[in-house]
């Protein structure tokens, strides 16, 4: 049985198409994916991302522990800084990709993928030996909204009354709940929210973590304002795909390391140690058998997850991880995991779509430029 987020009733009332995702029943679209996609690219959209998981790590060894399980380097980071990176298996395969928020000295807030919550929390707990930390799994307490698009800053400040213009890209702060959204204290974490300038769309935007009651009130305000379109996971996927952001389960998995996925920049091999470091060092030195590439097709046919990728001799040399008819640039494109010898830019490759084979070319994985406000 799938879980519901604290906004489930609101999605149903808005007539959303609901579908299971990552153990939750989530809105896929409210009107249609194209309109919602364009709203985020051009104006502002709000997503219920309350399905994401949250873990708080505190205690004297919190930083050393995060350094141990996380590929990016948080040493000496300023409070409020956010890092993207992965947790890895010793063989370099990916447990999950996640955000790490530094909330204070030896105080970190980890945001993980919904589908991986149980696995990730178990993995974290397995690796606490020798660290004096407190690991607090808080997924059930937090709701989360993502307000995304070029107008997001104005919407958050003017509609929600939460000052955010001073927040730099990939930073966060704790904020008081604005009085207009304040409610009877509803338990954890009462009276405070976390807001960050982050997102998963390639546009400027904010992610806001708060209690269920806060999340419901903030959602209602945003929808009632008319300045913010409700957006489902359908366009969240087309938006993140276009700008080359990976989705765990497609571009990263237990079998796909960050080196294979082209995400080495988030793995700091000059760090003293982290789980999986030796495997990545070996992969960097000796190469990997497969790499993630972008492929642009000449035709409009749409490559989908799992479709075979062929070389010019018709041999299968890889598989599509995500593909769409890219809404912002009107081209059929995909990300695909292919044998490394076929991963060079401009290599001619083809995708088999049902019975036909459609020729294409290896291109950069970013099909549309990000518009972050840094």
């Amino acid at each position: 049985m799938e879980k519901q987020t604290c906004l489930y009733d609101r999605h149903v009332a808005l007539g959303a198409l609901m579908s299971p995702f990552g153990g939750f029943i989530m809105p896929i679209q409210y009107s249609n994916i194209t309109d919602e996609h364009n709203a985020v690219r051009q104006h502002c959209g709000v997503f219920d991302v309350s399905h994401m998981g949250e873990v708080r790590i505190t205690g004297p060894d919190a930083e050393r522990y995060v350094q141990h399980i996380f590929t990016n380097d948080v040493a000496g980071a300023p409070v409020g800084q956010i890092y993207y990176g992965m947790m890895l298996y010793p063989n370099g395969g990916t447990v999950d990709d996640l955000l790490v928020y530094k909330m204070g000295e030896n105080d970190f807030f980890l945001v993980i993928n919904a589908a991986n919550i149980d696995k990730d929390v178990a993995w974290m707990k397995e690796h606490t030996a020798g660290f004096d930390i407190k690991l607090d799994h808080q997924s059930d307490y937090y709701g989360q909204l993502a307000v995304q698009g070029p107008e997001a800053e104005a919407v958050v400040e003017e509609v929600l009354g939460i000052p955010c213009s001073e927040l730099k890209f990939y930073t966060a702060k704790v904020a008081a709940v604005p009085s207009a959204l304040a409610a009877v204290p509803d338990g954890f974490p009462s009276g405070q929210i976390i807001i960050s300038r982050t997102g998963y769309t390639g546009e400027d935007g904010f992610e806001i973590y708060g209690s269920h009651e806060f999340t419901q009130k903030a959602w209602d305000k945003l929808i009632e304002s008319g300045r913010c379109k409700p957006c489902g996971l359908g366009c969240r996927d087309t938006l993140r795909f276009e700008v080359g952001l990976p989705l765990y389960g497609d571009e990263l998995s237990a079998d796909i390391s960050p080196v294979m996925a082209g995400l080495s920049m988030f793995c700091k091999l000059d760090k003293e140690e982290f789980i999986g470091k030796e495997a990545l060092v070996e992969q960097k030195a000796n190469g990997v058998p497969q790499k993630l590439v972008g492929i642009e097709l000449a035709d409009k046919a749409i490559p989908r997850h799992g479709y075979p990728v062929l070389n010019t001799d018709g041999e299968v040399v890889g598989e599509v991880t995500t593909g769409y008819h890219c809404l912002s640039v009107d081209k059929s494109v995909c990300m695909a995991l292919v044998k490394t010898e076929f991963a060079k830019l401009d290599t001619p490759l083809a995708v088999q779509i049902r019975k036909k084979v459609f020729p294409g070319t290896v291109v950069k994985k970013k099909f549309y430029d990000k518009h972050y406000k840094k």
Binding site: I28, Q29, N32, I33, T34, G234, T238, K300, A301, I302, R304, Y324, H325, L327, S332, I353, R354, K356
Partner: protein, 126 residues
């Protein structure tokens, strides 16, 4: 609200056929285009391809997913609707005016296995 045009025959996989003499024009129903949402690509067979009742002959793709097209009849493709190559959204604008393939029927008795508009509307309401 979906429209259910009279005079056509419908399949359970939501294709329709408009029969004119020895030929049938096959497309997707208005109910199907509603359910699919924005159509962004139509994968069509070639002229002279054989199609078989109950078997896949192409696909209609929305942003999110591909849906197989299942032929309601057997026969030979004599024409494909090339307008859909550049304007797949025509299926959303008017699914009944924009057929996908024209088939020379090899067995008209297959039409008896299909639903009329009333039966199809009841089927969709289930």
């Amino acid at each position: 609200m979906a429209k259910f045009e009279e005079g056509l025959r419908y399949s359970e996989s939501h294709e329709y056929i408009r029969v004119e003499g020895e030929y049938g024009f096959v497309g997707i129903s208005d109910y199907a285009q509603h359910a699919l949402g924005n159509v962004v690509y139509v994968d069509m067979p070639e002229v002279d391809d054989e199609v078989t009742a109950g078997e896949e002959f192409g696909a209609v793709e929305s942003v999110k997913a591909a849906s197989d097209l299942i032929s309601p009849v057997s026969g030979t493709v004599v024409e494909v609707n090339e307008a859909l190559e550049d304007k797949p959204e025509l299926l959303n604008e008017d699914a009944f005016a924009n057929w996908i393939i024209k088939v020379q029927l090899s067995d008209k008795s297959e039409l008896e296995n299909l639903m009329d508009a009333k039966a199809y509307e009841a089927f969709c309401a289930e």
